[in-house]
């Protein structure tokens, strides 16, 4: 039973708080009861083992109980939060979901039958192993999201080792690998997970103060927002022991400011990808961007300046893309790094992906949409550094026929805002005479490209 080790720990933890959800505390005994309830329900119900099951919810007690029960029922679980509402249909189709559990505001679950058939050769492999699966989505190079299939039993293996018990904030999302890591780390150490309805700096600080949160796992962008909002001045954050940041490149200036504002707090860098999971990591110091990566089940190496990872818990594969592993099983992260002995410094994506506050934007995806609008001849989308969100999306557009530039920019921005997730909408739109092309007639997105041509 893959989750039995967790349930044994829940039993020992008894009355200790497991999850704070909507300001209500659910203790480990209740979480265990709810998990057992769903396990029994699944045993006598009509959901077969190995069913591809969408779990629409957040870190609520019932969603967590269902996640564990579905894992022991060997289901292939597709967690989904409201953050991906716009992509829900595409995700369910890609995963070929058969059944969905939808959690409402009162944390009641409703079961819905879906039209998918749960077919994929990787699913068959998993069913043969009699293991549960986990499907998570990340962005694909063409802008289409990649569906990543993990073997849940392998993913859970690293949580068998007991570690420290800290009250932790569930800032990262339920349908992201880092959010899952936060959840299982907490559950395996009988810790309290404090969940959020609102991820604004004030709401986060209020939760830290109220529940004496000790660990805050966040994105680098959130730390910028925390500084700008001054929310830390309005709340007592003295319970904090660790701030863990990841998912994008951190600016040294932000890190320095955090180290200065929170002198008693250890600031740690985390690193992981949806494909290989989250590595164990150790920052050289709170104000250092150098980090040691690894832990049991992970190996790292640098090839051509890019980080590669070999992981026991790596995904089985993409459901909708070719394998990204080398022949000898290493995952090419695409992140450029510097190495100093055991330590790495991560410099960011090697390719053109624009990282806006930890959300990845593929230029082609935005270009594809703008290109469909009236009077657009050519468009090139690129990132520009920004101290708040790391980068912003910019678009240069050439027009087919003359049009008033200001009116045209308004029209294009309005269309983007109505059809795209907010972080993908170009903040700067420039109307240009023509789009710069390289010698090979490729669009030039990056300042480096321009420099190469000019040089």
């Amino acid at each position: 039973m893959p989750v039995e080790f967790l349930l044994n720990r829940f039993e020992e933890a008894g009355d200790r708080p497991a999850i704070v959800w909507q300001d209500r505390v659910c203790n480990y005994r209740t979480l265990l009861e709810r998990t057992r309830y769903w396990q029994e329900w699944l045993e006598r119900g009509d959901i077969d083992r190995g069913t591809v099951t969408v779990l629409e919810g957040d870190f609520s007690p019932e969603a967590v109980a269902l996640l564990l029960a579905l894992t022991s029922h060997e289901c292939i679980i597709v967690p989904m939060t409201t953050a991906v509402e716009l992509k829900k249909k595409e995700f369910i189709e890609t995963a070929d979901g058969e059944v969905s559990f939808v959690l409402d505001q009162e944390d009641r679950a409703e079961v819905r039958k879906l039209s998918g058939r749960g077919q994929h050769e990787l699913y068959d492999e998993l069913r043969e192993r009699r293991h549960a699966g986990l499907v998570l989505f990340s962005s694909g190079t063409t802008g289409k999201s990649k569906a990543i299939l993990h073997d849940m039993v392998r993913l859970l293996k690293k949580y068998h080792v007991e570690r420290h018990d800290f009250t932790t904030l569930a800032f990262l999302l339920f349908d992201h690998i880092a959010g899952m890591d936060t959840l299982f780390y907490c559950l395996s150490n009988r810790s309290c997970l404090v969940t959020l309805q609102d991820r604004s700096p004030d709401a986060v600080c209020r939760a830290i103060e109220k529940y004496r949160v000790e660990v805050l796992p966040v994105s680098a962008t959130f730390l910028n927002l925390l500084i700008y909002s001054e929310a830390y001045k309005r709340h007592d954050l003295s319970s904090l022991k660790y701030i863990a940041y990841g998912s994008e490149v951190m600016l040294q200036s932000t890190l320095d400011r955090c180290a200065q504002l929170f002198p008693g707090v250890t600031i740690l860098q985390k690193y992981g990808t949806t494909e290989v999971g989250t590595l164990r990591s150790k920052s050289r110091s709170s104000d250092s961007l150098w980090v040691k990566l690894g832990g049991e089940g992970f190996e790292t190496r640098v090839v051509d300046g890019m980080l590669q990872i070999k992981a026991h818990s790596a995904m089985m594969g993409y459901l909708n893309a070719p394998s990204p592993f080398t022949e000898d099983g290493w995952f090419i992260t695409g992140d450029t790094v510097e190495q100093d002995g055991e330590y790495y410094r991560i410099h960011g994506r090697a390719c053109d992906i624009i990282n806006v506050g930890g959300e990845k934007v593929f230029p082609t995806e935005v270009e594809d949409f703008i290109q469909t609008l009236d009077n657009v001849a050519e468009v090139v989308v690129y990132g520009e550094p920004n101290p708040i969100t790391g980068n912003i999306v910019c678009a240069d557009i050439s027009l087919a026929a003359h049009e008033d530039a200001a009116e045209c920019i308004r029209r294009i921005k309005r269309a983007c805002a109505a059809n795209m997730q907010p972080w993908k909408v170009p903040v700067k739109v420039n109307i240009v005479d023509r789009i710069q092309l390289s010698e090979r007639f490729k669009k030039m997105r990056r300042p480096d490209d321009y420099a190469q041509v000019k040089g």
């Binding site: 700096p201 004030d202 700008y228 909002s229 806006v356 506050g357 708040i388 921005k413 805002a417 903040v427």
Partner: protein, 100 residues
Amino acid sequence: MAADSRITNALFSAIDELNDIRPQDQQLEKSLDTVLFGQDGKLDSIGLVSFIVAAEQKIAQETGRSITLADERAMSQKNSPFRTVGTLADYCSMLLAEGE
């Protein structure tokens, strides 16, 4: 510090630009007291970034001078310049005065 009318015009015009792509129930009021970011702020991170970029462009149009509003200096201010339209106007005035 009294806000220069060119700066106020530029910031209000940046608000117009932002309102143009925001839902009806999230419109920003053109007032120096409008809270932008932080407690009870009307903007999220993407909204704040869009507003700052628009404000920089409008200020360049109004004054013919280019200033950078979001940088390490803004971050190291004791009080955030992005609290309200008024505090941002003061911060713009200070930056413009320095360049003269």
